[in-house]
């Protein structure tokens, strides 16, 4: 079983924005600072439990939409607007996971010791993240995806994760920038094929 899960295309989390993701129902906030670095945290503010993916990125910090608590790239709380003079204790922090951007895809691991060797090391350009209404297990079988959850199909990198039981997000990246539209068209054909297959053989 792999430690790394492909949660989104890099292009779908632009600089200074946050985006929601789910992994087997676990809510994860992805965000990117102005420096281009991508982060993956538990999607829950330690203050009042608000989803951090609703928040906004300012000055390299992710701020919660609810009360504006700001968390730095190291996940520690840097600023509490209601107490501007307070030196925030280091014990107040968001829960961070490991995040890596490879081949146009954002990979997240819940295991701190996960090896980067499991990830693709070629360059690729994100083409399409597409919802497939079928369980990951049947998508894996139909696409012959190996244990790592990703593979190259000629000029296209195919990876998948399961946001919730019965739904799969298929992420496809192209080896060349020029070919992204073709790959995106292929993603739609693949989705339609997999959903038709799933209707014939219900899980």
């Amino acid at each position: 079983m792999t430690d790394w899960f492909p949660l989104a295309l890099g292009m779908d989390v632009p600089s200074e924005t946050a985006a929601p993701a789910r992994l087997y129902g676990k809510e994860i906030a992805l965000w990117r600072g102005a420096d281009g670095q991508v982060h993956a945290w538990e999607d829950r503010c330690p203050h009042r439990g608000m989803r951090l993916s609703f928040g906004f990125v300012r000055n390299g910090n992710l701020a919660c939409l609810y009360h504006g608590w700001q968390f730095g790239a190291d996940a520690t709380c840097r600023h509490i607007p209601a107490h501007p003079e307070l030196r925030v204790p280091g014990t107040i922090h968001a829960h961070a996971y490991r995040a890596e951007e490879r081949a146009g895809i954002i990979w997240v691991s819940l295991n701190e010791d996960a090896s980067l060797d499991e990830l693709p090391d070629e360059d690729a350009f994100g083409a399409r993240s597409i919802l497939v209404q079928a369980p990951l297990a049947s998508v894996r079988v139909a696409l012959a995806l190996p244990e790592e959850g990703w593979k190259w199909q000629e000029d296209c990198l195919v990876a998948a994760h399961e946001p919730e039981p019965g739904l799969t997000m298929l992420h496809m990246a192209s080896a060349t920038l020029a070919n992204r539209l073709d790959i995106a068209a292929r993603a739609k054909t693949t989705r339609d094929h997999l959903e038709a297959l799933n209707e014939k053989v219900p899980a």
């Binding site: 989104a8 295309l9 779908d12 632009p14 924005t17 985006a19 929601p20 993701a21 789910r22 928040g55 906004f56 701020a63 939409l65 083409a127 399409r128 993240s129 597409i130 919802l131 209404q133 946001p163 919730e164 739904l167 997000m169 992204r180 539209l181 995106a184 739609k188």
Partner: protein, 186 residues
């Protein structure tokens, strides 16, 4: 000129939003009938119905920038967007007025969101930043309430990255306005 409006109706919101983006002063009068009929624009002694026709009429007002008109040769998508808004509006009213909570997202909502996501995703790869082309237009104004208020139907937006991108860039437009259920951009 006056809009017969129901503040919580998604189609009425599309018209108020469009007027605000185009810089048109549009007085409103609350009319509970608009919850069923959608917005009605009283103009030139007559009544104009349907959000697409009303928004098109607003674009022809002298104070509205020509940018809100489609460029030559650009595909018209207003009818498609209006039909999508009607679908969402119907589903949303059914969900909000339901006596008991429903179980999960209805398949028709998934179909609608998939159709929108496919279109926005292809546009993005073709360097077409808006549904209407290089500048936002009536089709974009009609689309925004659908995707923003899909939250009322508990659609998980992590499944639709191109829609998230559209919401983010739309909220950054000058003149953007909110309604209950559509928060401001930060």
């Amino acid at each position: 000129m006056r809009l017969r409006d129901w503040a919580l109706d998604d189609r009425c919101y599309a018209v108020r939003l469009g007027a605000s983006l185009m810089g048109v002063h549009l007085p409103t009068i609350t009319d509970a009938a608009a919850l069923e009929t959608g917005p009605v624009l009283e103009i030139d002694g007559g009544c104009l119905r349907g959000p697409a026709d009303i928004l098109q009429r607003l674009t022809s007002l002298p104070e509205v920038s020509r940018d809100w008109h489609l460029g030559i040769g650009e595909e018209r998508r207003d009818a498609w967007a209006e039909s999508a808004l009607e679908q969402l509006s119907h589903l949303r009213r059914a969900a909000l007025l339901a006596a008991l909570p429903t179980d999960g997202v209805p398949p028709s909502v998934f179909r609608l969101m998939t159709e929108i996501e496919d279109r926005l995703s292809d546009d993005r790869l073709c360097d077409r930043p808006w549904l209407s082309g290089r500048h936002p237009g009536v089709a974009d104004i009609l689309l925004f309430p659908i995707v923003a208020l899909s939250q009322d139907l508990e659609v998980p937006l992590d499944l639709y990255p191109a829609i998230r991108n559209f919401i983010r860039q739309f909220k950054a437009l000058p003149g953007f306005m909110t309604m209950p259920g559509v928060p401001e951009c930060h």
